[in-house]
């Protein structure tokens, strides 16, 4: 990995740019942010994320933070989680949120979509068994609704159960009385979210945008 000096290291940036698809300028900006977060150290730890105030109020912050340390997201076919990450991993995780450029082929678009959905899937599938089980789903829904505070856990559970059933019925179809529904697999996940334009919703504009704030 090497050490990043304060001057942008163009060669390393270029390899990163090729790998993640960011432009050199974007990498520079993100690198500054990385250094700011990690207080100029080389690696980032979970605690460093606590300095971000706005993140604290996000209901799923723990999952977001965890996603950064989840090896599955590093595109190296590894599992498990790490304690600290370097800039390369940081950038790799960020690359999931890139916007699709205008001129990519349908295949690439589909691939990007899959990658983003995989990221989301991994966020929920904490035990990495390839399925989102009811318990995990419930946890997610509870987290989501926890801040609104208006509901008890029961409603949250009810919602999670209902959603799960829905997925079951959509993907598996009518089940015999004694079949089990294990959980949502990645393929089913893809199927559910087929209609949603992920690649356009789940992205961040990584440069400063003033004029584009109001346009969707």
């Amino acid at each position: 990995m090497g050490s990043f000096q304060s001057l942008p290291d163009n060669h390393q940036y270029r390899t990163l740019s090729q790998k993640t698809g960011f432009s050199l300028e974007q990498i520079g900006i993100l690198h500054n942010r990385f250094k700011q977060l990690s207080q100029n150290e080389e690696t980032l730890r979970r605690d460093d994320f606590k300095t971000i105030q706005d993140l604290e109020s996000n209901p799923i912050r723990s999952q977001i933070i965890e996603a950064f340390f989840d090896k599955r997201n590093f595109q190296k076919d590894d599992v498990g989680s790490v304690q600290e990450i370097g800039f390369e991993e940081f950038l790799t995780v960020m690359s999931y949120f890139r916007a699709p450029t205008h001129h990519i082929t349908d295949e690439q678009r589909e691939e990007m979509r899959r990658a983003k959905l995989r990221f989301l899937f991994n966020m929920h599938d904490t035990d990495n068994d390839g399925t989102i089980t009811l318990e995990e789903y419930r946890h997610v829904v509870e987290e989501l609704l926890s801040r609104s505070g208006a509901l008890g856990r029961e409603t949250a559970k009810g919602i999670a159960d209902a959603a799960m059933l829905e997925v079951a019925s959509i993907s598996v179809g009518p089940m015999a009385p004694d079949e089990f529904f294990e959980g949502i697999t990645f393929e089913q996940f893809l199927k559910i979210l087929k209609g949603v334009e992920i690649e356009t919703t789940m992205h961040i504009r990584f440069l400063n945008m003033d004029t584009t704030v109001l346009c969707k």
Partner: protein
């Protein structure tokens, strides 16, 4: 009506038993008759369904108007002076604009705000100037004989015919379920370009009647353009907030709540007219601001009333205008000039097409979902002219020499676009397979995941320290929650939209079931529940079992619910909630507590037409045929029920049960409270009594709902307003808790 004299006057003629006093009632009488006639026409169209599918209503109305106009012309009558400036702009336009803006789906609108504004303002300017200049060029050609129309007049005329009118187009778009982006852009564009057109019209009007144009004046007028637009917005906001504030106090006088809405909107409009700023912008902004807050404050009845009345007024106005368009076409004097008018038509279409093309190219890079060529075609072809053009043409000052020519030209353009484009747009769009929306996908999972995505993106943005549009939205929502809502709303309990969605789906399904249930609620219970294998409960890995049908008994037969359906946001602006207050499912409690829960406001949820069936529980047996209710087997079984709504033929009991679950009244129904299925570890066996539910409710290990009977901890006793959610900790939407 007869008047007889009391005592005979020797000088008078004989008394009559019956007298007619027509002049006294003439004006209201004629107005009523005209409106009635137009309404008959409208009713008549829908008798035969196929017509309205293929031919937009506006066409039909114009045709009827033409016929009536022909009749009137042949008897040499004059049509009523509906289209004078004051009548149109003061009475007929405001309802239409209010209708459009009230039913505007706010969230997609604000997300596409930049695009909408771009098309509306720049597009209209482009069109007007383009058409005006080309027409001026045409005028130079001697063959057409209209050389005396100068540039200003051409520009004026151009500004009149470049405004588009949404009615017909939107109906078609809704029918073919078009892509939401396209819909909202067309909708928004039409709304705003009315404002722009009126401003331009006044500008050019001013300029046209001046014998000489001075550059300084022109710049002043351009500056006034901005003043006018922003002034209108300001007025609208002002009145909107005042209206919302007023409704805060109308708790005891529910009957005047709708009136407040109308009065304030109209006042905004008129005040803006007073100061000669854009009244359309004022009323649009007023409606948009008002709607959000007012719908939380007012009662359910008022809410429905407001929506219905606005819809009605808008509809009546539109109908009348198109009708009179037809009538007046026959009865006015026309000045026909082949060249000018045909070229007008040509340029109108051409410039719009060009305009859309160019503008889209410029704005596409800024959009997340760019417009492809099919979308652009839809936008272009959907540019029908209508009411506003018509009225503006009529209010042209007399000093313009070729006023009649302009009127004729406008009418021709309107009729052409409405008939030809209006009729052909539907098959064309279908043929081209323009992007559709996937509305039926809006299920709970999708909503959850969308929200998750939003949170994730927001979180990552915080991480990057970057801003994007979520930032502004969050900022605004935070400001909104902390300050504005506290002032304007009677009690502030925002609710997560997922829960709102869930409830809404439940309610809708419940209502569906109710609707198809005939007869009263008898003890025909059936319930879908999921059996849970308890022996796996202790394992961390939970399994779902498919269902088994069990029946619930007169548990629910004695219990019925009072439901208030809360507001829903619509994309189809003409779909209103069913009035279901006639049918209630009441729930009687042992202590006859009257509960009212507010279902929360569904403002801004993106779901429009929800799928009726959001959960289809796999059923071994057939659900459609009503299965015989079985007596529920008891204590030996553990039943964990879950909300499931299926086909409408499902018995009523289920409905009540879900509703109860949805509204979190689970102490009453042991069944409902059993939604925490799949075992907590301490889930004990439960038996269901089929007798009165009052006694013997075995509380499962519920933390939140361990209410003793008769306590009203969860529910506050309002005066039957709606449903109120119980706030637990601090009640805020997740997105808004961003400490500054």
């Amino acid at each position: 009506m007869g008047e007889t004299d009391a005592d005979p006057d020797p000088g008078k003629t004989t008394q009559t038993m019956f007298t007619l006093n027509y002049p006294r009632i003439q004006i209201p009488f004629e107005i009523t008759l005209w409106v009635l006639l137009a309404s008959f026409a409208k009713i008549g169209f829908h008798v035969y369904h196929k017509i309205t599918v293929w031919v937009p209503e506006s066409c039909l109305l114009i045709s009827i108007g033409l016929i009536v106009g022909g009749i009137m012309h042949s008897v040499n009558e004059d049509p009523p002076a509906v289209l004078t400036s004051s009548a149109f702009f003061l009475y007929m336009l405001p309802p239409i604009v209010l209708d459009s803006s009230y039913f505007m789906p706010t969230r997609p609108f604000f997300e596409n705000f930049g695009t909408v504004l771009w098309f509306a303002v720049v597009g209209t300017l482009w069109n007007s100037i383009g058409i005006g200049i080309s027409l001026f060029a045409i005028c130079q050609i001697e063959a057409f004989g209209v050389q005396d129309i100068n540039l200003q007049e051409n520009l004026l005329f151009a500004s009149i015919i470049s405004t588009v009118e949404p009615v017909a187009v939107l109906t078609v778009f809704e029918d073919i379920s078009i892509h939401e982006q396209l819909y909202i852009v067309v909708f928004g564009e039409c709304l705003f370009n009315d404002a722009v057109t009126v401003v331009l019209y006044n500008l050019f009007n001013h300029v046209a009647v001046m014998p000489e144009v001075e550059a300084g004046e022109v710049f002043l007028d351009i500056g006034s353009f901005f003043v006018v637009g922003l002034g209108g917005v300001f007025f609208g906001l002002l009145f909107g907030f005042v209206a919302a504030f007023t409704t805060r106090f109308t708790g005891k006088v529910r009957e005047i709540e709708p009136l407040i809405i109308f009065l304030y909107s109209y006042l905004a409009y008129l005040s803006a007219e007073l100061f000669a700023i854009s009244s359309i912008m004022a009323i649009v902004t007023c409606a948009l601001t008002m709607k959000y807050y007012v719908e939380e404050n007012v009662s359910q009845h008022s809410c429905t009333t407001i929506r219905h009345v606005i819809n009605m007024l808008g509809s009546v106005s539109e109908t009348l205008i198109f009708f009179f368009l037809g009538v007046v076409t026959i009865t006015t004097e026309h000045e026909w000039n082949w060249g000018y008018i045909l070229f007008t038509l040509l340029f109108a279409l051409l410039w719009r097409g060009l305009g859309i093309l160019v503008l889209t190219q410029i704005i596409n890079p800024f959009r997340t979902i760019p417009f492809n060529f099919k979308d652009q075609f839809g936008l272009t072809y959907g540019g029908l002219r209508g009411a506003v053009s018509f009225a503006l043409a009529f209010t042209l000052p007399e000093s313009i020499g070729h006023k009649k020519l302009f009127i004729t030209g406008t009418i021709v353009v309107i009729i052409f676009t409405v008939f030809i484009q209006g009729i052909t747009i539907r098959p064309l769009l279908k043929l081209m397979n323009v992007r559709k929306t996937n509305r039926k996908q809006e299920t709970i999972s999708v909503e959850i995941h969308k929200r998750l995505m939003e949170h994730t993106v927001a979180g990552i943005e915080d991480l990057c320290g970057q801003w994007s549009h979520y930032y502004w939205k969050d900022k605004f929502m935070k400001f909104n929650n902390q300050i504005i809502r506290k002032i304007l709303i009677r009690d502030t309990r925002p609710e997560s939209s997922i829960v709102a969605l869930y409830k809404k789906l439940e309610l809708q399904n419940a209502m569906e079931i109710l609707d198809t249930m005939s007869g009263d609620i008898s003890a025909a219970p059936s319930l879908i529940s999921l059996h849970e294998e308890i022996k796996n409960a202790s394992k961390s890995r939970k399994k779902f079992l498919s269902s088994d049908v069990t029946s619930m008994h007169e548990l629910l037969s004695k219990n019925m619910y009072k439901i208030r359906q809360r507001t829903v946001s619509y994309t189809n602006k003409h779909s209103l909630p069913n009035d279901i207050t006639a049918r209630e499912i009441l729930m009687r409690r042992h202590t006859s507590l009257r509960r009212s829960l507010r279902a929360g406001s569904f403002h801004g949820t993106n779901a429009a037409k929800m799928s009726q069936k959001f959960l289809s529980l796999p059923m071994g047996q057939s659900l459609n045929s009503g299965f015989p209710p079985r007596r529920f087997g008891h204590t030996g079984e553990r039943i964990y029920s879950i909300i499931a709504v299926i086909k409408p033929s499902h018995p009523l009991v289920l409905v009540a049960k879900q509703i109860q679950h949805v509204f979190h009244i689970d102490t009453v129904m042991p069944l409902a409270s059993s939604v925490n299925m799949l075992g907590e570890q301490n889930e004990e066996q439960r038996g269901y009594r089929t007798s009165h539910l009052r006694s013997n409710i075995s509380h499962s290990g519920h933390q939140t709902s361990n209410l003793p009977y008769g306590s009203s901890r969860n529910y506050s006793d309002k005066d039957c307003e709606g449903w109120v959610q119980e706030p637990q900790n601090d009640v805020q939407q997740p997105l808004m808790r961003r400490p500054h």
